[in-house]
């Protein structure tokens, strides 16, 4: 009984294999221009490091422009007179000296 069932599944399996053998894999989509894509990947892997530097050049350019723009347009308010600027710092020291009696 068990042997018969065993045989049945062997036959069934062979039938499945026969059906699977008949089917031709569809490779047409991948086969088209396949060598072009392979060669592109090979060339990509062969690129020297400075090829990447050239590719990053636009990014560096944009960063430079942004920094230049920021340095031109960003100007925090400062006293125009340098003597007044110094005096504003020394006034506090003089007041402190006076209060502490030094």
């Amino acid at each position: 009984m068990n042997d018969k069932r065993h045989d049945r599944w062997d036959v069934e399996l062979d039938r499945f294999f026969a059906l699977a053998r008949q089917s031709t894999p569809d490779i047409s989509g991948v086969e088209r221009n396949f060598e072009t894509r392979v060669m592109a990947r090979i060339r990509e892997g062969r690129e020297p490091w400075y090829a990447w530097a050239w590719r990053l050049a636009p990014v560096f350019l944009v960063l430079t422009l942004l920094l230049a723009g920021w340095s031109i347009f960003y100007s925090p308010e400062r006293p125009a007179d340098p003597v007044a600027m110094l005096a504003s710092g020394t006034q506090e020291i003089a007041l402190l000296d006076h209060l502490t009696g030094e």
Binding site: R5, H6, W9, D10, E12, L13, R15, F16, F17, L19, A20, R21, Q22, S23, T24, P25, D26, I27, G29, V30, E31, F34, E35, T36, R37, V38, M39, R41, I42, R43, G45
Partner: protein
């Protein structure tokens, strides 16, 4: 043709890209048809094909030329497909529904619903095999290769191939037949 392949290999080693492209053009059909037995979709087939030729390009200098280029290429294709099966096995703990779709099949060659169903059942069951068992059963049963050829392609001994083919067949019968066969 094999002599021409050897000449192209020499030119490719010398840096001639066009020679290597010609090798790819000549052998892409064979490589992709074999890889399609293991790929689940077109993207995976593209990956397997590209990986095969990238390895060929990388190892071109190790091709000694004492056997036809096609044989050497077949071994690399089998190795790439086996690696992909092992990687997939690590990633997938359970059989996903995607596997039910089976490998890439040409709709024009289907033999009606029963044939398609049989193939689906077979590939679903095959997806549950161990990578080495699936590789052996695919080469042995679907590509109709002899034990000796499978041994040459995989680098395993003939005894090991026979044992793995037997185990794969037993496992497939269990998967297809259900629990009553266990």
């Amino acid at each position: 043709m094999p002599d021409e392949d050897a000449g192209l290999v020499r030119e490719a080693i010398g840096g001639d890209d066009e020679a290597f492209a010609e090798l790819v053009r000549r052998h892409k059909g064979t490589v992709l048809r074999r890889a399609a037995r293991f790929a689940r979709n077109q993207e995976e087939l593209e990956d397997l094909g590209q990986e095969t030729f990238l390895r060929v390009y990388r190892d071109l200098r190790s091709f000694r030329g004492d056997a036809p280029f096609g044989h050497w290429l077949s071994r690399i294709t089998v190795r790439v497909c086996y690696d992909a099966l092992r990687k997939r096995r690590r990633e997938e703990k359970d059989v996903s529904l995607e596997v039910l779709a089976g490998p890439v099949a040409d709709p024009s060659t289907t033999n009606g619903p029963s044939a398609q169903m049989a193939r689906m059942i077979l590939y679903q069951a095959m997806s549950r095999l161990k990578p080495e068992e699936r590789l052996v059963i695919t080469l042995f049963e679907l590509e109709d290769r002899s034990v000796r050829e499978v041994a040459e392609l995989t680098g395993w001994s003939e005894t090991r191939v026979k044992v793995r083919a037997f185990r794969a067949r037993q496992a497939l019968k269990r998967h297809i037949g259900g629990d009553d066969e266990r």
